[in-house]
């Protein structure tokens, strides 16, 4: 499996460039990964989404649908698109160190 360095740590990545092992992730990595997705600063609201996505991934092995994320994290669809412009589910998963979401919703 391919590897790359993020925040001084070598991590495994999958073919889409997402972190393959979410347990290797830390907050410093999130900041760097966010910049790569053109998000200059991670706010508390970004972290609400990131934490929820990681929790969901740990429990179910995949990121949540946007609908589930709305209902359970309290971040509305509108806000989610503002926080992660141009592809919220994929960008948030990338920054949260989990694999690309596979759902269509």
């Amino acid at each position: 499996m391919a590897t790359r360095e993020i925040a001084g740590i070598t991590v495994e990545i999958d073919e889409d460039g997402y972190m393959a092992d979410h347990t290797q992730w830390n907050i410093e990595m999130a900041v760097i990964l966010a910049k790569e997705q053109e998000i200059e600063e991670l706010t508390d609201r970004h972290y609400v989404v990131i934490e929820y996505m990681r929790k969901e991934f740990e429990e179910n092995g995949t990121g949540p649908s946007i609908r589930k994320l709305n209902k359970q994290s309290g971040v509305s669809t509108k806000e989610l698109y503002q926080l992660f412009p141009g592809g919220p589910a994929k960008k948030a998963a990338f920054i949260a160190g989990i694999t690309k979401p596979h759902g269509c919703i």
Partner: protein, 170 residues
């Protein structure tokens, strides 16, 4: 070899109003926004059913003349190859049952009901339009539509709005 350019805009046309005919347009529009693609849906003819306040949450699966209903047979623990006789589909309540079954399966996949879905794609930045000619034909007004409908427009306006977009007839 260069990779083809990614799709930047899609304009979906939804001209039919059965539940199974409306969901594809909604799912494609939402999926586009999730990928950062601009999206709009132009509802026309019977597709208007999906955006009328009084009807949008009561769309039905057609069980008469729907030759592909065999696909739903596994939901009834029957083989996928078993045809669904259209004469049974005509019995009162059968369409309601098929609709209930489909809604249940969609809910399992986290697909929202039509009303909630329209709110979701509107919040996601997709634009929802109604076709002027058919709005006039059915004698409808802006007030008859859910608030997410942005505009009633002519075909020519729809094409103008679709500049640079892929147009998809669902």
């Amino acid at each position: 070899m260069n990779k083809p350019d990614p799709i930047k805009r899609v304009s979906l046309v939804c001209a039919k109003g059965g539940l199974e005919e409306v969901y594809p347009a909604l799912i494609l529009a939402n999926g586009a926004r999730m990928e950062g693609i601009e999206a709009s849906i132009f509802f026309t003819f019977f597709g208007l059913n999906a955006i009328i306040k009084k009807t949008h949450n009561n769309l039905k699966v057609a069980t008469v003349g729907n030759a592909a209903l065999n696909l739903a047979m596994p939901m009834l623990k029957m083989p996928i190859t078993m045809p669904f006789p259209t004469i049974i589909g005509a019995i009162p309540g059968v369409s309601n049952f098929a609709t209930w079954l489909m809604k249940r399966e969609m809910e399992k996949l986290d697909v929202p009901p039509v009303g909630e879905f329209l709110e979701m794609i509107d919040d996601a930045g997709a634009e929802i339009y109604a076709c002027k000619m058919t709005v006039d034909m059915y004698g409808l007004k802006m007030d008859d539509f859910v608030p997410q409908v942005k505009e009633i427009m002519t075909v020519s306006e729809f094409y103008e709005k679709s500049a640079g977009a892929e147009i998809i007839f669902t």
